[in-house]
């Protein structure tokens, strides 16, 4: 495990030694039991990676467009109006999950009605909801959905993500169905539990420290650095893997050929040689060179979308919510070998109190 910021950032740029060309083995634990295709572009190295990523990058740049930001704001405003009118709300299933799915529908350019089907898949698209880990059944359901959407995009191409894949060309040829599936699989798995846990955690923080909402209201520019600091502090993805085809020396540890190492973003984000008081949430932290979205050529392609969503959410919460009261909370605990890590919630029941 690489734990320090400098090492983690360095390793992401040394793909000859620490490769992502390893289907199913970039996520930890490995996912061979829940999918049959290589996720793209993440499970490749440059130069293939650069070309694969370039095919979908225009889609993930769209959150820079004002119309798309307004569309996300419209969604957040409507969902807040709903929860503000209620006596209690279970944040994970009734707010964070539907918000993530509906925002993804905007990003992928598909009708909002699609999101209602995705909501039924639960917080993690490949893991069982009872906490028993990766679920082959859920993997198969996702694959079935992806094939259905790709079939209709082939019959009747539109302006959506699936149609863009059908039209895309890689090195002078069309994408194979497995390649298209690999792109889709990542689009659904990559930004799901991560965004959901981040939204729920932010809401819990705002409930526990009511001063934050007031500060965001009084200093609107704070939303930018606050979003980054929440991401550093929450670090929704603990770590990702790299495979060493020829073996490696990893900080004095010998890695066997084909052995795997972990890049621990969560640990690097608490590196005391980089961050002053790393255990403190400081909304005005600047500079804040965190790696919550990874680093290097594989850095999160959905980061712009996530950032826009979280910034708009913080702005609208500050504008409309006076305080948040927690009725009930059960933290989500992730087990990594012998380590337990809190990230997000299983259940978070709150009341959003509107501003008078």
């Amino acid at each position: 495990m690489f734990l320090r910021m400098k090492d983690v950032r360095g390793v992401t740029r040394d793909w000859k030694t620490f490769s992502s060309d390893a289907p199913f083995r970039v996520p930890i634990p490995s996912e061979e039991s829940v999918r049959s295709v290589r996720q793209l572009p993440i499970e490749t190295d440059p130069p293939e990676h650069t070309e694969y990523r370039g095919l979908i990058e225009p889609f993930f740049e769209r959150p820079r467009q004002p119309w798309m930001q307004e569309s996300i704001r419209g969604l957040v405003v409507a969902m807040l109006a709903d929860v503000l009118a209620r006596e209690s709300v279970e944040v994970v299933d009734e707010f964070s999950l539907p918000l993530q799915s509906r925002a993804l529908a905007i990003l992928l350019g598909v009708p909002a009605s699609e999101a209602e089907e995705w909501i039924g898949w639960g917080v993690h698209v490949l893991k069982a909801s009872d906490g028993s880990g990766l679920s082959g059944e859920k993997g198969a359901r996702l694959d079935k959905y992806i094939q259905k959407r790709l079939n209709s995009a082939e019959r009747e191409p539109g302006d959506d993500f699936f149609s863009a894949l059908v039209r895309a060309e890689f090195r002078g040829r069309r994408l194979t169905r497995d390649e298209m599936t690999g792109f889709c699989n990542l689009a659904f798995a990559g930004g799901r539990d991560t965004v959901i846990h981040s939204v729920s955690s932010i809401i819990a923080h705002l409930a526990d420290d009511p001063g934050i909402l007031r500060r965001l209201r009084d200093h609107p520019k704070l939303v930018m650095s606050a979003t980054e600091e929440f991401m550093r502090y929450i670090s929704p993805i603990a770590h990702l893997g790299r495979v060493c085809p020829h073996g490696a020396n990893a900080g004095g540890q010998h890695v066997q050929p084909d052995g795997r190492v972990s890049l621990c973003w969560a640990s690097a984000n608490r590196d005391g040689s980089v961050f002053e008081a790393p255990e403190e949430l400081r909304l005005d932290r600047k500079p804040n060179p965190h790696v919550a979205f990874g680093s290097g050529p594989h850095s999160c392609i959905g980061s712009l979308h996530a950032r826009v969503l979280l910034r708009v959410l913080l702005e609208e919460l500050a504008a409309q919510v006076a305080s948040i009261h927690v009725y009930e909370r059960t933290e989500h605990v992730e087990q990594i070998a012998q380590f337990a890590r809190r990230v997000g919630f299983e259940r978070l029941v709150v009341k959003f109190v509107p501003r008078a």
């Binding site: 400098k6 930018m224 650095s225 980054e228 500079p287 060179p289």
Partner: protein, 104 residues
């Protein structure tokens, strides 16, 4: 008000700026191609890289510790490299010229 010029592959873009803004904020507000500014200016994403024109390097100043460390990961960074989110504009930088040069 002051003026700054971005040299991009599409040509030179001179825009008006306000003292106190960061150079990245000015670039993003004017849709300067090649400046992302994704992290909003906290020195986390390195999508706002510029090369400061020789005559301006001294006046703009050198990168701080976190910025230097970030730049050190990019072989394409040079002695004139800066992350524009870390350049705070002031009247003394009126006329500043930088080249937009994405790192990756």
């Amino acid at each position: 008000m002051l003026q700054v010029t971005f040299i991009t592959p599409e040509g030179n873009q001179s825009v008006a700026a306000t003292a106190g803004d960061s150079l990245m904020e000015v670039a993003v507000a004017n849709n300067v191609d090649g400046i992302g500014g994704d992290c909003g200016g906290v020195c986390s994403c390195a999508t706002c890289h510029v090369r400061v024109a020789q005559d301006w390097v001294e006046r703009v100043g050198r990168p701080g510790k976190d910025e230097s460390e970030m730049l050190s990961f990019y072989p394409t960074a040079t002695g004139e490299s800066r992350l524009s989110c870390q350049i705070q504009l002031s009247d003394s930088l009126d006329g500043l010229v930088v080249e937009v040069a994405p790192l990756d």
